[in-house]
Point group: C2
Chain length 451, copies 2
């Protein structure tokens, strides 16, 4: 499914040009959609991405920034001078510009604000001051207002005057003398009705939120009412910003994804891009900690119930640690498979990214397995006599490795076989990891501990 008209360019050719000359690679990007440019730059090193980016003009740079994911953005912003940043800011809509400034180093941002015209600087400062989780944090300040007594033609004229840059969508609100929204004029109304129609006959009811309202509530309103633009009002009820359908969609999609990964104890970083293996491990360790604690509590409780008079580690002592090992292995398996299933569903696992993701997820599993194994070997050795601690440690590492391998390979295999990985990856995988965890643990324990 190559978008029409771009069959003749591909990322492989881009990467091979890049090896010779970043300038040639940048020229090759001409005519390629900014979304594809951003995509291709994700797969090269941050240094190479920056070299190519430097060859583009400010408008191309701004478009690329708009489509770049968080990691590519961060890599590029890190390398920008105040002059670079200023040129891009000039080209971006206000909400994107404020976000970009917020991501940049504070002193760099101040340098930029000092050199742009004071009205824009003031606007950007105000936008940046809103809590990012509120409607104010995602709104843009570009919109057009008309009075209710005007005609549709006046609204169209206002758009032409304000929106010389056709790249920007401009929402048209009808406001009273105090700037409070009375109505909204959707594009379809402006395009389909005669220009002499009075505004107050053509307008639809405006839907608005307060600037301090939660961004997710605002996004849900856009979704519920199928809005083109949601108005954002200040305490006096005056319109100060708009939230577009596209921005709302992004908020809701990010939120759903975060929920999914959080419930698996992973983080959104794991899914996208360049977060290092160590950072991914750190993100997931809290869940491991909770599982270890609850496993130890459950082992303790079981001991209390099953207290046997004999000394030494017997069969029932071994089995008391089974819930702990199964729990840990299950967690790692579910995290890996959740990340892979989402990555597959979002079409993120194509080309060179697939191998990189499989490798890094497996590596994360190895590191987590080793950490958990060493910690448990130590802790259990303190709590229990004999070789039980060693057995728990080795079995934990083995079971986690096994779960991580299954968690990454099963979703990929399913996709190749044409089976929906979401169905298989959850339940089926937990069962596989339960059984393999039990077997591994008991095998290790039997080998180390005389019956």
């Amino acid at each position: 499914m190559v978008p029409a008209g771009r069959e003749d360019k591909d990322s492989r050719e881009f990467r091979s040009l890049l090896e010779t000359s970043p300038g040639q690679a940048a020229r090759y990007l001409e005519g390629v959609h900014a979304a594809d440019q951003a995509d291709w730059l994700r797969d090269v090193s941050a240094e190479d991405a920056w070299l190519v980016y430097g060859e583009l003009d400010a408008e191309e740079q701004a478009e690329l920034i708009e489509f770049a994911d968080d990691d590519l953005r961060a890599a590029l912003i890190e390398r920008m001078s105040a002059g670079d940043l200023r040129e891009v800011i000039d080209e971006l809509p206000s909400d994107e510009a404020a976000d970009l400034l917020g991501d940049a180093d504070t002193r760099l941002a101040e340098d930029v604000l000092a050199t742009i015209d004071s009205e824009t600087a003031q606007e950007l400062r105000e936008l940046a001051a809103h809590d990012p989780d509120t409607a104010g944090g995602i709104m843009a300040t570009e919109f057009v207002t008309v009075g209710p007594e005007e005609r549709l033609g006046d609204a169209v004229k206002a758009i032409r005057k304000q929106g010389e840059d056709a790249e920007e969508e401009l929402a048209v609100f009808v406001v009273d003398a105090e700037g409070r929204p009375l109505g909204f004029l959707p594009d379809r109304v402006l395009l389909s009705q005669p220009i002499h129609t009075p505004v107050d006959e053509a307008m639809v009811e405006p839907i608005t939120v307060g600037v301090a309202d939660d961004q997710e509530d605002a996004a849900r309103l856009v979704d519920k009412y199928g809005l083109q633009s949601l108005g954002v009002v200040d305490d006096s009820g005056a319109l100060i910003g708009v939230i577009s359908a596209e921005d709302a969609t992004e908020v809701l999609a990010d939120e759903a994804e975060e929920d999914l990964l959080r419930m698996a104890g992973a983080s959104a970083e794991s899914l996208h891009g360049r977060a290092s293996v160590l950072r991914r491990v750190r993100n997931r360790l809290p869940l491991m900690g909770i599982t270890v604690l609850s496993g130890l509590v459950s082992a303790k409780v079981l001991r209390w119930f099953l207290e046997t008079p004999g000394e030494g580690a017997g069969t029932s002592d071994i089995l008391r640690y089974l819930p702990l090992i199964i729990g840990l292995a299950g967690n790692v398996g579910v995290q890996s498979s959740t990340i892979l299933v989402r990555a597959i569903a979002m079409g993120e696992l194509e080309g060179p990214r697939q191998r990189a993701m499989l490798r890094s997820e497996t590596l994360v599993g190895v590191v987590i397995g080793l950490i958990c194994g060493v910690v448990l070997a130590g802790v259990v050795s303190l709590l229990e006599p004999g070789q039980l601690g060693m057995a728990v440690g080795i079995a934990t590492t083995a079971a986690i490795l096994c779960a991580a391998l299954m968690g990454t390979s099963v979703p990929v295999l399913c996709t190749r076989l044409g089976i929906d990985p979401a169905i298989v990856a959850g339940p089926f995988l937990i069962c596989l990891s339960d059984v393999s965890g039990s077997v591994l643990f008991v095998a290790v324990a039997k080998a180390l501990i005389p019956a």
Copy 2:
């Protein structure tokens, strides 16, 4: 967050009017957004919803249908005569009309198609013939085409001519003599550029998919490129339909939600609406079956490793079934909490729906707990001597009940306390249910089986 201008009406007043007279309740809906109308009707019985619906005029009915969720749609369609259906079909855009006909009884749909004009009927038949999972299955056939040699003013005229009903968004594609897309004219270009601008100077590159391409791939293209409309072409490359950003967003959101629920072994039905408790139980039993099987396998494997010479059910025999019980309880807990976390995130748990959902989720847990308990008591009694089967059965039911209660109450509690339920509901809940499952099982086993 009441949308501006509607502070004076609410669902409670609507429901109390409904008790007296459906006609008064319907009149109360005047001026209420169709999205809210659909929302309010979700909370009343299907019969009452139908009575109110019958009082609306065809245009209001069509709008309500567009915003209704699957359950409300199904309840209304079930009760429609061919005449009712036909009136609504006339008001709906082609993709919605085709979906509605697809949801209706086949003979009813045929009656409707026989009475509408043959061109529209042919179009709807063709739309309905596409696989619902393809681009053809979600595309609409309303769009406007202009030639590259025309001017923007001609495009606007074409919209006015074709789009008399301002409710519909109309995408404007630039096509060659064979109807193949050469360009696209976004609304913002049509509104911001002078009407005498030549079309081929103002148009942007069109992005298209084949009619048989996967709907999710198509939706991802809309998302990736930030498109207003994606073109759908037939084998000859001619434009035959369009997919709007709104439709694409819906496809992607549904897909993400399905993945989330599938990975927890639940189904999308569980989240929305009226699916009966028995149907929810049936949806979730397959996962329970897999877990029971793998738990039995793991108990068998453990026995093989831990074979003890003595007869009767000892401590280690009890512990062999621990993974099974913990696994089942964990599954039920995760399913309930996944459903609740999503419902909370989507703002579905407000008003009367919260109590209904808590009640039905708990009931589902009770039924699943009883089924699993009885089945396991039987199976384990066949496999093992003594009271072990009974102990496993009772402990399974108790552990599942406990997990279901925690799975529903913890997310709600978290929300009340202002904690993100997604973080707590996953990992923390599994640990709670592991510990409580272990304790319950061992307590029951010790009570029933002499040491």
